[in-house]
Symmetry: C2
Subunit: 582 residues, 2 copies
């Protein structure tokens, strides 16, 4: 089976049995949007719930839930209004617009993240990249901002955007969350929710979506005390890594190292990131994707997001889409909190007390408001806040050496000269210091996890599809069938069906078609257990339990059915061991 | 305790302990948006999950999950681009904008839904309604469309909207869903998801939001066979009703009637709506809101949405916000499917076969494309589709009597004359007929359910707050406390904590402050059970279980703790009966 075939089969199954399909079909479809059908919506919810169980409940993180529509200032602070762009090119002939770097990648098979527009255009011309639709010549690329834009309320000047990530809902709430964490570092906050990204021309089915669900964690820690207290639990765990160091040496195959080695060799810079990378590996394993099919690849500096110090992508191989990122593990430094301080004027720093007060000499940078206002107008207040958040020594050194300091913040650079600041040294007694926490960010794409789960569960047996979903993810847990639609079998089967519903199982009743056909229908949607009511049931009150993967059957007393299924689903007892229990 | 006090206390608790707060606080807040904090996000998810369990799993409905961003044509078809409006008035002095009918209602205490703009302005002048902010004079109101507008992809002409309801995601998928229901009526489809409504000036905290979660069901049935096969299960259930008939007679207090009586007296017109109203009553009861605090009020014709034949609102009394709608129960007729047929050109009708083929004379209306194009231009195709979906007899009668027929569809009226159509009678043999299903729509507002749950759980005991949430909704299920932070009690307590985590419970560990203070902290967030580890634990391996509501305590062996808690949470055994089990 070729990999394209496999993907096509999965897509066909997904549409026919109701896992997912392209949205707005009756209106010709809209690229970048998918609908989850009845089985897909349940599977997606189960993956999300599993993630919450693993990362929130078991790790003791806080879960929050914030809006999608966000006032402009939040994304001005985070840099998204400036940086959340991709290069778009327009066909001179047919007027269609395309993502320039993707066309180049498709043509050459190489990756071209981080090029300037000029470099990109040059490469496009060199490689004779043309309009995929009509073959026309393409214009030089421009940056297109991929935030969905709207206005909030009846005032057209009140601009808002759809969030492209859930993270800013966490950062902008840091103050309150820190209080809820009782004023102590480290702590982590999770969010799972809908995000929107106005992709230029998404053409990869469920892999590149304009509307998607992101599940992410912002884990806040003290950069001067970055130890992960749980690292000992995972230090011997193995990770398959492709770190920057090796990538730059031309290595293309991931190496397998323990967490301890990865940290020692500097492959992973943050213990907290390392900890969550292990959790991510195990989580993806729980979805049925073996650890040897996964690896973590470090992003090179020009590929990283503007806020990131180090980023690893968790990758898996998918039949048609190649190596696909399921999660990203960024060390976001303190960028976001700092920028929200600058834009909101709120102090989001955390006070870390010393053991005893210390007398220290401090260099102070006092912004000169008048001079700042003269040169920076409306932005003076932000520049002023940014100045006070910068190491004074850096400013003095640059001023002394160059006569100016390049203050960088929110996608802009402000040229600070002696006029703008007063520098003075003072002696102060300090009881502690205020720090801006650093952030480890594991971020998962739920829709891709969903698709990868389907693909790794897909198998064929005797020419039929068996979807070997992990049992706790199966959308339908149990199917109940009367062997025939006569002799009171349907009535008995419906009683069994109702009993299992009362016990909390997701059950489907089906009496149409041959029993073989009904088993097959359930196999292809991943239902682990089928219960059949036959004539013997009417005599001894036993039913047949059939296993999806082995097609083995055992007989169980009806009154023991709920307990047997509990053992199977909640305690993960093997099917073949169930017989002993009954 | 006054009702305003109560609400203020709940809001304070919600902010302090992390249930919810206004979004974007550090940027001054944005009206109509709330953030769910760590406890709120868990409670909200549990209510949603309970809804899915009650309506999807137990009722055998299909759950789907479709995008928020929707191409313009979908809401043109549904009528939202035309009808989803509210009257806005602008202050002549300060320029602020307000929802005109709300200002009038606040001033007079009466409801003014369904007035024309002229009538509304007249009433505003009569009642001297002024700007609530500056007291200025107000302009005559205009309609403001409350869809959030954006563009999809890099083409500015590709307009999209944020969905204000999840229903259109179901209607526009009807064809595929009908196939998944194996081509049989009736069947129901549910969706729970984020929706956005660009409210003009929301000022009611969690009650009127610009971003909200709606949980709704579209239940499709044959209008010629509208019997609900499960009506017998609920016919003796009592509902508190305020039907249109009685409202028009001046009745203001709901009457209590059985479902059977409500249907017989024509108070409720659809059996399926009646069935779901009972389910809704019971669901809201499960959230802790007694049935005697709920009632269903019918919307008068001028208050109903444009698609509705009959609508009941499920109302409860909330301390500060008055009588608030938690769910709506609309009979949406076939409006939406019909309009999607007209706009998409897809046949969404369902074939209902006769027992045997019938020969019938039929009046046919053949649209005259040329004449339609001449008079209706681009809309000719839609007018033509709309004509073929209209009863031919109505068209002929009106043409004969008036010389024209007013064809109404998507917020517009088209004047059809003899030129536009050819009428002819033919004899045909029909094997069955094609019908457009009708729809019963129960639609719930999750955010309001959440707030109502909090308010009805709120109680005070000995001057302290006890949040009496139903046990299965509690965000934290079990708290684990060492009595003191010495003698190895914390170590033992952490073991108990980990054991309960392993058993799947949502557990919180706390060792700071006096034990009384820790109990109080858990009482006010509704944690049903607190487990305390004391010196006796070290001797006989028993712990104390304390009940949130009665403050009673029992001792339980550590090894029996998981089972005891299972009995309490999953089997709903009373706290006082737990002792017998242990």
């Amino acid at each position: 089976m070729s990999s394209t075939d496999k993907c096509q089969k999965i897509m066909e199954l997904a549409r026919r049995r109701g896992f997912f399909w392209q949205s707005y079909e009756i209106y010709g479809g809209e690229s970048g949007f998918i609908d989850y059908g009845p089985l897909g919506a349940l599977l997606k919810r189960k993956i999300e719930q599993k993630w919450i169980d693993e990362f929130v409940r078991k790790e003791g993180l806080m879960l929050i839930d914030t809006p999608i529509i966000t006032p402009s200032i939040v994304f001005e602070a985070s840099g998204h209004t400036t940086y959340f762009t991709d290069p778009v090119t327009t066909c001179k002939k047919c007027g269609r617009k395309w993502r320039a770097d993707h066309l180049l990648e498709e043509k050459t098979g190489e990756s071209f993240e981080g090029l300037t527009l000029e470099e990109l255009y040059k490469k496009m011309l060199e490689n004779n990249v043309r309009c995929p639709e009509c073959g026309g010549e393409l214009e030089s690329p421009k940056f297109f901002n991929e935030l969905f834009k709207t206005t909030i309320g009846p005032y057209s000047e009140n601009v808002g955007y759809g969030r492209p990530e859930t993270a800013q809902g966490i950062f902008s709430n840091f103050k309150r969350l820190y209080e809820l964490a009782r004023g102590k570092l480290p702590f982590g906050v999770a969010q799972a929710g809908r995000c929107v990204r106005n992709e230029i021309s998404p053409r990869q089915g469920p892999i590149r979506l304009r509307e998607l669900t992101i599940m992410e964690i912002e884990f806040f820690f003290d950069p001067e005390n970055p130890k992960c207290e749980k690292i000992f639990e995972v230090k011997n765990e193995k990770l398959r890594l492709l770190p920057e160091k090796l990538l730059l040496d031309g290595v293309t195959e991931p190496i397998e190292v323990t967490v301890e080695e990865a940290l020692k060799n500097g492959y992973i810079k943050s213990e907290w990131n390392a900890y969550f990378m292990v959790k991510a590996k195990k989580f993806v394993e729980m979805l049925g994707i073996p650890s040897e099919k996964q690896f973590f690849k470090e992003k090179l500096p020009n590929e990283r997001a503007h806020y990131s110090t180090q980023t690893y992508d968790q990758l898996v191989e998918l039949s048609r889409w190649g190596t696909v990122e399921l999660s990203g593990h960024a060390w976001r430094s303190n960028y976001d909190l700092k920028m929200h301080m600058v834009y909101s004027g709120e102090d989001l720093r955390v006070f870390v007390p010393y053991n005893k007060p210390q007398k220290v000499r401090r260099l102070l940078v006092e912004p000169n408001k008048k001079a700042l206002t003269k040169d920076f107008g409306e932005e003076a207040l932000r520049v002023s806040r940014l100045l006070t958040l910068t190491q004074p020594e850096f400013i003095r050194k640059s001023l002394d050496e160059n006569g100016f300091y390049e203050l960088k913040g929110d996608g802009k650079t402000y040229r600070i000269t002696f006029e703008h600041v007063n520098l003075k040294e003072v002696e102060v007694e300090e009881k502690g210091k205020r720090i801006i926490p650093n952030v480890a960010e594991p971020s998962f794409g739920l829709d891709r996890l969903f698709y990868a789960t389907l693909e790794y569960a897909y198998s064929e047996k005797d020419g039929r599809v068996v979807l070997k979903l992990p049992r706790e993810l199966a959308p339908i847990e149990v199917a109940v069938f009367p062997l025939m639609t006569k002799d009171g079998l349907p009535e008995k089967a419906k009683k069994v069906y109702c009993m299992l519903l009362d016990h909390g199982f997701m059950v489907e009743y089906d009496e149409s078609g041959s029993i073989g056909r009904r088993y097959a229908r359930m196999d292809e949607v991943g239902t682990p257990i089928a219960v059949t009511i036959d004539h013997q049931t009417l005599q001894d009150n036993t039913v047949t339990l059939r296993d999806r993967d082995t097609w083995e059957q055992i007989r169980v007393k009806v009154e023991k059915l709920p307990l047997t299924l509990e053992k199977y689903f909640r305690e993960k007892v093997d099917f073949k061991d169930l017989a002993k229990l009954c």
